[in-house]
Structure formats: structure tokens, C-alpha cells
Amino acid sequence: MPPPSGMGAVGEARPPRQRELLSAAEVARIVARMAHQVIERTSPESVMLVGIPTRGVPLAYRLAGRICEFGGTRPGVGILDVTLYRDDLRRRPTRPLHTTELPAHGLDDALVVLVDDVLYSGRTVAAALDALREYGRPRAVQLAVLIDRGHRELPIRADYVGKNLPTSRNEEVGVLLVETDGTDAVVIRRSQR
């Protein structure tokens, strides 16, 4: 997950180019549409929305709120930290861990919808599938993402996509949410790596 837009490299004169792709209103509309899609394709009372930290978690709570508003039943919400299951730990400095909060009775026979902000290589989702196995055997696992930016490295596809954003590999897509970043927006910027 890219860090929130920060300063450019030391000594860089102009700020990194950053463009807003989706406004707060558009983000809200997209989340609402995704909620309708989840209601159409599932029965919400058996659904467990599982957010992947950091920004998948507030998204999961928002989706649950919308589903409750439109469908009348509030699906369960959980948090699944996948850091310990990643296959790329040794390519980055130490990653901090987040909490995991799943129902004590496990996920057996639940319809799990994984929720994340950006779908890119698919490696986070692959790690999430590995991690989920430790908590039970869901009836089915689906994937909801706000942004699908392409460039998959694994055979993984989302069931609910907020918006498809064709990007170049040397760009970064940043999802900003009020809960974590103080504002709602989706931005694109040149990669700083």
C-alpha cells in the first residue's frame, strides 16, 4: 500500500505531480453502488465483510453501513491483517503489524467478502486467502475493491470493483479516506521509488 502523499525526495525543487481522479462525492457514490451489488448477489445476513488494513477496514465499515441502509440487515464486519502471510516481507523494511478481529466462532460456512482499497499485483489478496484458511472454511470468498488498477501478477479477480483505473507501473494510486487521511479522494502520482 503506498504511503499517503508526502514530500518529494530531498533536494527536489517542485512537489511531486499529483492528480485527483475521484472526489469525495464520487467515492461515496461508488461505495453506495458496491453496496447495492453486494445486496443483489448475496443475502446480506450471511455475509461477513472482512477489511484488510489499513484502508480496507474503514471501507468495510462504510460498505456495511450502506448495505444496512439499503438492504435492512447489517452484515458482520471483521479485520484481517495479512502481513504475517505476505510473500514479499523480505523485499521491504520491517512492516508494522495490525490487529485482526474476526468472530470467535470462526468463519465456517460464512460468505466472506474481502474488502481492500486498491487491487494491483494481487499479492495482498493471495496472502489474505492464506490467512483466512487459519480461521475456518468459509462457504465462499469474494473480493471487493474500490480501485482495480490492473497489472495482476497472480490469477486473482475482484467480484465487486468500484472503478477500473488503467495505470502505468510507474504511477501510484492513493486512496485517501477520512478515517485514515482526513479527507476522501483517489489520487494518482508518479512513483517515488
Binding site: 523480505r90 520491517t94 508494522p96 503489524l97 495490525h98
Partner: protein, 316 residues
């Protein structure tokens, strides 16, 4: 982080990150039937112990295994050390076999530092002589954080054989780094020279390390008491008149437990000498967090292995 050799090297941010990771790991494994994480698959951890140990060694082994690392245990007795092999040769042999991390306990102070300069692997100090035992200090801090919420501004009283205690040394440094105050209570013979100046010399802060000889006077104003074992194996000569007299002056009895504030925690790094520095009933009372310390020890050591082995190698 490349090695964990002493709490002296631990910045506040690093120490806090380690404790946070330990807490997250504890929470991640809570209530799970299968306590196994794939994080360190394919990494090899060797524990090399030149001194006897139950909990530290078992704790490192469990920590490694819960994270799917391969753990090999070597103790000096029964290895080529008994035939006269040097520490350096033993370590290089283990490194050549593909060890990624060597966890070492050695009776000589500074052994882990020397080892770190010889081998290309990560090194974790699991106790070197009377010098340092960083993972013990981390697990004590984790336990205190759990019970007291924070260490910032808290007072921890360390009682007993400070002179021979690597646990005390590591704890004093880490507790001060985390913002606590440390009060040492011991007979004058069991206190290192100049210990009351450590705070000023090392951190430039006055009144953070204080010294006293009266346990009864110290207890009412403390948030935690850390009892130390009297390390008879490191003592040549008389440091106190008799075990009985030591126990009367510095043992944590039931009567003394009553002097502690309601919220205060009793810690002991183990092994305990019940009836000597701590009474039976005190060790088993709900005020004592001794089994919690052991439980947290596993998570803290998992956190240490995670920070050392599950990240990109730093350029040396």
C-alpha cells in the same frame, strides 16, 4: 535492525515497535486452534547455550516454531565445545550450515558482541555474563505495559542482586528509555559502584535511577516490583551474612505485599527461589505477573525474530 545485543542500542521508537509487534502477535494467535504462522518459513534459528536455561531457551524455540522457522538447539555440554572448540569456530560452523540467526547465551560478558563481529548471521543476545539480557527486559516491559497501560512516568523498584544481574542492567536501561523511573533496593554489597549516576551518565537525566536499602520504605510509592534471584553461582566471597538475613531484609513477604499500592505488579524473571527473595504465597498471588511474563516472553521473542528476519537486509 541487524542484531539484538543490548537494550543500550534500543531507541525508544525501536523498543516501542518491538512491543507493539509482540502485542499484535499475541492478539493474532489468541484463541486460535493452530498457533502457526508461515512468516519465517525456510529460515533457520540456532540457539547456542553455554549456560543452563529453561524458559529463555524453550521460549525462543517456541517463538521460532510458531513462526515456522526451523529451530536447532545446541548446548555447550554434549557439543564439540566440550572437546575444546572455541566460540568463534562453533559459530562459524553453524553459520556455514545455513543458520540465519544465532541466539546465544554465554557466561562471559560481551560474548554476543564478539560473535556479531565474526559471523554473517543475525545475533540475538540471550544473556551474556552479568552484562545484558535484552529479551527479558522487553518481556518485562510488555507485561508492565499490559498491566499498567504505559511505562511513562511509572516507578519500578528492582530488588536484590543488582550487581550480578544482567536482567537488572537491561531493565534499567529499557525502563528509562521508555520513560519510567527506576529505584534499586539492595544491600550495598550487591549494588554496582556508581549506579546512582547511570541516569545522568547515559541519558543526561537526573533522578531517574535512585538507590535505597530499605524495602519497606520503597514499596508504598512503586507501580511495580521486580524481584531478582540471588545469583550464588556468580558469587565468590560473602556478600551478605546469611540467606536467612537476606530473606528477612529483602524478601518479598506477604506482609510487604500489603504495603504495595492496589495496582502494583510483582515481577520475577525466574528461576525463583521461593522462600528466599519471594514468599510462596506472593509468587502465587494475583498481584504477581510471573506466568504472564513467561507467556509474553514467547510473543516478544517472536517479535524480535520478525524484526530481524522478516525484512529486507540492511546494507552493512
Amino acid at each position: 535492525m541487524r542484531h539484538l545485543l543490548s537494550t543500550t542500542d534500543l531507541q525508544r521508537e525501536t523498543a516501542t515497535a518491538l512491543l507493539d509487534t509482540a502485542e499484535a502477535l499475541k492478539q493474532a494467535l489468541l484463541g486460535r486452534e493452530v498457533r502457526k504462522l508461515p512468516t519465517l518459513r525456510g529460515r533457520t534459528v540456532v540457539t547456542l547455550f553455554y549456560e543452563s536455561s529453561t524458559r529463555t531457551r524453550a521460549s525462543f524455540e517456541v517463538a521460532g516454531k510458531w513462526m515456522s522457522a526451523d529451530v536447532v538447539n545446541i548446548s555447550a555440554a554434549g557439543s564439540s565445545v566440550a572437546k575444546g572448540e572455541s566460540l568463534r569456530d562453533t559459530a562459524l560452523t553453524l553459520a556455514a550450515m545455513g543458520a540465519d540467526c544465532i541466539v546465544i547465551r554465554h557466561p562471559a560478558s560481551g560474548a554476543a558482541h564478539r560473535l556479531a563481529s565474526w559471523v554473517p548471521t543475525h545475533v540475538v543476545n540471550a544473556g551474556d555474563g552479568t552484562h545484558q539480557h535484552p529479551t527479558q527486559a522487553l518481556l518485562d516491559a510488555a507485561t508492565l505495559r499490559e498491566r499498567l497501560g504505559t511505562l511513562n512516568g511509572r516507578t519500578v523498584t528492582i530488588v536484590g542482586d543488582v550487581l550480578h544481574s544482567r536482567v537488572a542492567r537491561s531493565n534499567i536501561e529499557l525502563l528509562i528509555t521508555l520513560g519510567a523511573r527506576v529505584h534499586l533496593v539492595a544491600p550495598a554489597t550487591l549494588l554496582p559502584c556508581g549506579v546512582e549516576n547511570w541516569g545522568v551518565e547515559n541519558w543526561g537525566v537526573a533522578n531517574r535511577v535512585t538507590v535505597g536499602h530499605d524495602l519497606d520504605a520503597a514499596l508504598p510509592g512503586t507501580d511495580a516490583v521486580l524481584m531478582l534471584r540471588v545469583q550464588v553461582e556468580r558469587m565468590q566471597g560473602g556478600f551478605f551474612p546469611s540467606a536467612r538475613e537476606y530473606s528477612i531484609s529483602y524478601g518479598l513477604t506477604e506482609a510487604r505485599l500489603e504495603l504495595l499500592p492496589e495496582h502494583a505488579v510483582v515481577l520475577h524473571p525466574g528461576p525463583m527461589l521461593r522462600g528466599m527473595e519471594i514468599a510462596h504465597s506472593v509468587a502465587d498471588s494475583p498481584r504477581a505477573a510471573i506466568t504472564e511474563q513467561v507467556r509474553n516472553g514467547v510473543h516478544v521473542r517472536m517479535a524480535v525474530l520478525y524484526h530481524l528476519l522478516a525484512a529486507q537486509e540492511e546494507q552493512a
